[in-house]
Amino acid sequence: MVTLEHYLVLSAILFGIGAIGVLVRRNAIIIFMSIELMLNAVNLSLVAFSRQLNSMDGQVFVFFIMTVAAAEAAIGLAIMVSLFRNKETLNVDEINLMKW
């Protein structure tokens, strides 16, 4: 029997991997992908809770998170494209006109 705890542990592991990716990677695109991974981990917990609690709120919340993630991806990638046009790098170490 797969319990709620199974899903929560998996979700916490994925969230942790994503968070560590954000903190140690330098490529802006990979950092952003790690953030998407964190959001996916959150979604997994929400759906697991939603089944456990017999409530649809969690699933609807996931739906909204997905929509916002799509909007976020559009804007984030647009920012990266406009930076790349001026600077030709997405390595956050080289993005140092100002202190990082």
């Binding site: 609690l53 929509t67 990266m80 494209v81």
Partner: protein, 172 residues
């Protein structure tokens, strides 16, 4: 059977996400990410959330991922050098603290018994009474969450306008 599937999908998800954060080439990371999206969709099916599984594949694997790959191709990104030095001492510290919090949390979850939350009305019987998961989601989405639903349309409009303003070659 369900347990076996969970371990297969969960294992793949963990391995693929490790591949994502350690990959040198952004394209490889992006492909690992597609794998993560698909196994999470599979886990949604295991959890009885068929609508979200479909949405997960359509929105994440379909739309967001393609956007990522487009940008990676467009910018011709070179693989980065992996270095072990952290960007910032603070971030190293914060990363360690965050991982510790998560580890502690995992240990606690395994011990169990912290979730005594108020149960909702959507038992599996009620959901099948609606005609399935998709219908049940719709029933909640268009009644209780009507306003947030409309709000997301504004967010998407703003994102569209914003992305165009930031990237279009010539603006009049």
């Amino acid at each position: 059977m369900e347990l076996l599937l969970f371990y297969i999908f969960g294992g793949v998800a963990v391995l693929a996400s490790l591949g994502l954060v350690t990959g040198k080439n952004p394209v490889h990371s992006a492909l690992f990410m597609v794998v993560v999206f698909f196994v999470i969709a599979a886990l949604f099916v295991l959890l009885g959330a068929e609508f979200l599984a479909a949405a997960q594949i359509l929105v994440y694997a379909g739309a967001i991922m393609v956007l990522f790959l487009f940008v990676i191709m467009l910018l011709r990104l070179q693989p980065e050098e992996l270095r072990n030095t952290s960007r910032h001492a603070f971030q190293k510290f914060f990363g360690i603290v965050l991982s510790l919090v998560l580890m502690a949390q995992i240990a606690l979850i395994v011990r169990g018994g912290f979730f005594k939350g108020a149960k909702g009305n959507y038992t599996p019987e009620v959901v099948s009474g609606f005609g399935g998961n998709t219908e049940a989601v719709a029933a909640v989405l268009f009644t209780d969450y009507l306003f947030p639903f409309e709000l997301t349309s504004l967010i998407l409009l703003m994102a569209m306008v914003g992305a165009v303003v930031l990237t279009k070659k010539e603006l009049k």
